[in-house]
């Protein structure tokens, strides 16, 4: 095969020479080089395949809006449920009834969603801050506001039912069987559902860890005292937990389940008996929630980690990790709990397996949605097209910026040499040996993640490899005769660099530029996967993969399509780059 290729090359060379000799024309060198390069490129089968696949992706990205069967913006508007992460606007909490879920945002916006049809229900903007987690009881939604008010809204339409000024910052609100209980520092208040105050008690001591329940108002103090209240507001100590001070607890039918120091405990209120159920090994994160449901315990930790725990066997049965932080949990059907997260997602987790049954919205293939729908009911095919547009345009813009900067820096630095050159190259060498992803993460974090800042961050790290290629070319080019000749003719340095050096470095730069598109697309998808890139609801292949992670057991196709697109794009670009390298650099031929 190798010999065959060499023969072909030989033949072509001789025929070309013969033609030049016979016709007596000496062709202008650059055109013949380009022609040879193109000829050589089209003999590379994989290169052609790469080019075709890449062009297909590029065309579908350009015409994404026309090709998409469902409008991305419409779908996102219908799902204003996913607020951007890493901003100063965040949900203070979510609550849900069997047919409605409500998200309260710290800036006073309240979104509610009809769970039966998966569509937004009512929307309310209070134009004052919401400071507490919301609570639900008697068809009312309760929360504390920045103006020290306890507010009750109607769950059916979001209108205001009543408001009381408590004169101090409200930190916690719970729904109880009789109404609502609120906490402000050491003060505890109990109101009826129509706004009548039952009682007000003060409980001294640090009260950071406690839980309230629907069945009866109940408080666990920092010292491990369990307090209960009568309807008149008299507090009584039910029991003391001694050393095992709960980090988070859940009250369920006379039992308190809680986490303390890496162990799970159960305290029976009737028999006043404390049992150690087992340990949760190997977790360094802070516990956030514990929830008992249908013979299983659901444990959630800061940073999105959660575990399933079997109290009978006393061991962890599964663990999983989601993006965002858990805000609230409530019981679902059978062995499932419904969870609400600070990035707006709503997940139904099966306590037996740890798998997610996504809310009713995830669908498989159908005539309307040829690649199915995602967790918010959005068409996957349309999102893939739009995501491709984001990823490809980002890759191309980044590579153009890098080539411009890298060529200028590399050519000037190599041409003039000296101390500046060696300092720049030392710096470049060092930065090239540092792992790029953590640096990119820090940069997008500082600049605030968005499309523009990702271009900036990727360009800052990307120009250096181009600069190195151009510099090494320049070093040899500036010693060549034609540069000397130009200098002898009185050309300025600027002219020599622009007209003689840079055009001659184009071949390797073109190859590096092609491969840089691939690098930028990969970095984009990794950053978006980690939540530091393109922010939802704008789709990108990376953040689609991030969402798919949670539905791997029930909807694996969500992970397959975006990943396959990244893979095919990178593969086609790598084929293309390889073919271009062979075509443009005759010296590399045969070395491979």
């Amino acid at each position: 095969m190798a010999n065959n290729k060499d023969n072909q090359k030989q033949e072509m060379k001789t025929s070309e020479e013969k033609r030049v000799f016979e016709e007596g024309i000496i062709e202008h060198k650059p055109t013949s080089f380009v022609k040879i390069a193109i000829n050589r490129f089209f003999r590379h089968k994989l290169g052609i395949i790469g080019l075709i696949v890449f062009l297909l992706f590029a065309i579908s990205a350009i015409f994404a809006n026309q090709l998409a069967p469902h409008s991305i913006t419409d779908q996102n508007l219908r799902n204003r449920f996913a607020p951007p992460t890493l901003t100063r606007v965040y949900p203070t909490g979510s609550v849900a009834t069997p047919d409605l879920s409500v998200n309260t945002m710290n800036n006073g916006e309240i979104f509610s969603r009809d769970l039966t049809f998966g569509i937004p229900s009512w929307y309310q903007n209070l134009e004052q801050d919401i400071t507490s987690h919301p609570a639900v009881s008697h068809d009312n939604l309760y929360f504390g506001t920045g103006e020290n008010k306890l507010m009750a809204l109607s769950l059916s339409n979001g209108s205001e039912e009543w408001t009381t000024d408590l004169g101090q910052n409200i930190e916690m609100v719970w729904g109880t069987a009789d109404g609502v209980m609120a906490r402000s520092g050491e003060q505890f208040f109990h109101f009826s559902a129509d706004g009548q105050k039952f009682w007000e008690v003060s409980i001294p001591g640090t009260l950071d860890k406690f839980t309230g329940t629907l069945e009866r108002p109940l408080v666990i103090t920092d010292e491990g005292e369990i307090l209960s209240f009568s309807i008149e507001g008299e507090k009584q100590t039910l029991a003391s937990l001694d050393d095992a001070v709960p980090e988070t607890a859940h009250f369920h039918e006379g039992n308190i389940y809680f986490l303390s120091g890496g162990y799970v405990y159960n305290f029976n209120l009737d028999e006043k008996e404390l049992t150690e159920l087992g340990s949760i090994n190997g977790i360094t994160d802070e516990p956030v929630k514990i929830h008992y449901h249908q013979e299983y315990l659901f444990l959630a930790f800061s940073g999105g980690l959660s575990k399933g725990f079997d109290p009978e066997k006393g061991e962890v049965i599964w663990d999983r990790e989601d993006s965002g932080q858990l805000i609230s949990v409530r019981a679902g059907e059978e062995h499932r709990v419904e969870t609400f997260w600070n990035n707006g997602s709503h997940r139904i987790i099966n306590l037996e397996t740890g798998g997610t049954t996504s809310s009713r919205m995830v669908q498989g293939f159908s005539d309307i949605h040829i690649l199915g729908t995602d967790e918010l009911g959005r068409d996957v095919f349309s999102r893939i097209l739009a995501g491709g547009r984001v990823s490809l345009s980002l890759g191309i813009i980044v590579s153009i910026v890098c080539v411009t900067v890298g060529t200028v820096v590399g050519a000037t630095s190599g041409y003039f040499g000296g101390v500046v050159d060696s300092i720049i190259m030392r710096f470049v060498d060092f930065l090239l040996s540092i792992p790029a992803l953590p640096i990119l993460m820090i940069m997008t974090y500082i600049l605030g993640p968005s499309f523009q800042t990702m271009i900036i961050a990727l360009a800052i790290l990307g120009w250096m490899s181009i600069a190195r290629v151009v510099r090494s070319q320049t070093l040899s080019l500036k010693e060549q005769d034609f540069t000397e000749a130009a200098r002898a003719l009185g050309a300025t340095n600027r002219r020599i660099i622009l007209r003689h050096i840079i055009p001659n470095t184009l071949a390797p730069v073109l190859v590096a530029m092609t491969l840089m598109v691939a690098g930028a697309i990969l970095s984009e998808s990794q950053l978006s996967y980690l939540g530091l890139g393109i922010q939802p609801p704008t789709p990108s292949w990376g953040n689609m993969l991030m969402n798919a992670r949670q539905y791997l057991t029930t909807a694996p196709w969500l992970a397959v399509w975006p990943g396959l697109c990244i893979f095919l794009t990178l593969l086609s670009i790598n084929f293309l780059g390889d073919a271009m390298r062979d075509a443009l650099d005759p010296k590399l031929k045969g070395r491979d």
Partner: protein, 323 residues
């Protein structure tokens, strides 16, 4: 040789100082500061309280004073500060996680070498054979596959569908005592992350080994050895391999800190409690000191491995020392 080593170590010191200044500057450039967080917790603080707090935290001092104080604490007490999210010293947090990352990077490094070097040699010796084409295809796959996607696919097939390996974590809760029991238990958790992290470096090293080997077997001294009638096996393993493997060793040394970048995404996919996941969570949860400390550790590691690679190279190739 010693003069060369000492000279290289002396060159490293200003680089380390520059790294620490850059890290501190980045830390200061990060959005929000501790006072702003305290203000969010207690909005009724007066201007005076804020000014007092700034003084107590030393935030009213100029940049260089704060830098020197910060650096002094690191050098004298190894104190990197407190984590805002976990409320424990950063050093404790790092100590808890570093072991797992060392296992992950180490095992995937060993796996990559064990696969890449023999296959690189094989491909070079049987250039353009069916096997060579297969491994070239594999290398293209390794270069192009996004490792978070590969991780998800492996997780789906081997953990969720077949149930051969656990779906996350780093060791079982109860393991029979004994070195081998613990070893195999850890391996069950490590195998998928190890492959995911190692695949791209495996592909790269394989191609690099192939091309250096191809170059070496075309050298004159190999032809001389053949002409002398030395057995082919001895030519390959004694004459050619030694020279071909040298550049690969330096490349591989420099790749160790770079693998940390891959570890961030791999640990995120596999819920593996290591430095990469700690770094990611620190950024997501605005725990800036932790993130910055980890970046600084990586930069220092890069410098150290560069130094080691240089010294190793000088040791095997005496010409380097005189330039």
């Amino acid at each position: 040789m010693w003069v060369y080593i000492i000279r290289r170590i002396m060159q490293v010191i200003p680089v380390l100082i520059l790294i620490s200044i850059a890290s501190f500057a980045l830390l200061n450039a990060m959005p929000g500061d501790p006072i702003a967080d305290l203000l969010m917790a207690d909005p009724e603080m007066s201007e005076e309280d804020v000014a007092n707090l700034r003084r107590i935290y030393g935030l009213d001092q100029p940049f260089h004073t704060r830098y020197l104080r910060w650096m002094g604490a690191i050098l004298t007490q190894g104190d990197l500060g407190m984590s805002q999210q976990y409320k424990v010293p950063v050093t404790t947090l790092i100590a808890r996680n570093i072991e797992n990352t060392v296992y992950l990077i180490g095992s995937s490094f060993i796996l990559s070498i064990l696969v890449a070097i023999p296959i690189g040699i094989f491909s070079a010796l049987r250039q353009y054979s069916l096997g060579d084409y297969f491994w070239t295809g594999f290398a293209f796959f390794g270069f192009s596959v996004p490792n978070h996607w590969l991780g998800l696919l492996l997780l789906f097939v081997f953990a969720f569908q077949l149930g051969w390996v656990p779906i996350g974590g780093f060791r079982s809760i109860r393991v029979e005592p004994g070195f081998w029991n613990e070893f195999f238990d850890r391996l069950r958790y490590l195998i998928l992350p190890m492959i995911t992290l190692g695949i791209s470096s495996m592909a790269g090293w394989m191609r690099y080994m192939r091309s250096t080997m191809l170059e070496v077997i075309r050298e004159d001294y190999i032809r001389t050895a053949r002409a002398k009638g030395v057995a082919e096996r001895i030519i390959i393993y004694k004459h050619a391999l030694r020279n071909a493997v040298l550049p690969v060793i330096t490349l591989v040394m420099l790749a160790i800190p770079v693998m940390f970048g891959g570890a961030v995404i791999t640990e995120a996919v596999f819920v593996y409690p290591g430095m990469g996941r700690l770094f990611w969570h620190a950024l997501i949860n605005h725990d800036q000191l932790v993130a910055m400390s980890i970046i600084m550790i990586i930069a220092v590691m890069v410098v150290i491995f560069n130094l080691l690679a240089d010294i190793l190279y000088a040791w095997v190739d005496p010409r380097i020392r005189y330039d």
